[in-house]
Symmetry: C2
Subunit: 112 residues, 2 copies
Amino acid sequence: MLTREGCPENVLAIKDALEALEGRWKLLILFALSTGPRRFRQLAREVSGITDKVLAKELKSLEAHALILREPQDTFPPTVEYSLTPHGRSLEKVIEELHSWGLLHRKKIMGK
Amino acid sequence: MLTREGCPENVLAIKDALEALEGRWKLLILFALSTGPRRFRQLAREVSGITDKVLAKELKSLEAHALILREPQDTFPPTVEYSLTPHGRSLEKVIEELHSWGLLHRKKIMGK
């Protein structure tokens, strides 16, 4: 058990994490980037259900939180590549645990 | 690396997890309950910043996802106690990883 009742530092750490990752898209985008850099259009395809507008907004927020890197490529037509920063990569364990739990939850809910 | 590009089952599992835990409050409520059962008023105090209305809504959603148990107590005046189900307890690792990462993120953002 990691917590003691009313320990505000633990609660703050979780609040910070939830704020940086809020919404339903950010972890899915980071998950897509965990196998390597992607261009905007690739991400739009892989993160199914997201609109271009929301994807652009979420990428900006992830960049502001130092979780991803945005690099314009020297190509024609111009493209932009997104990749995880080391800090973004440090979320891998969170994503793995969430993934394992998601599989369990899916079984539990479907098995009802 | 847990993922292969375009593996829809992995993405679905993460989507499921995020849906069950969406918003900024659910994990904080589960975190508070991880040290033991709580009454409504105790939770309202411990999860600082939450309003009674939102807390009631979030508790209902957590109960619907089989993550917490709601038990009316045989007291006067009547009280209700909330506790984690075994399924809710299975989120402990997710919360631990999120907590560790939140501490790291706090250092990173404040150290800027």
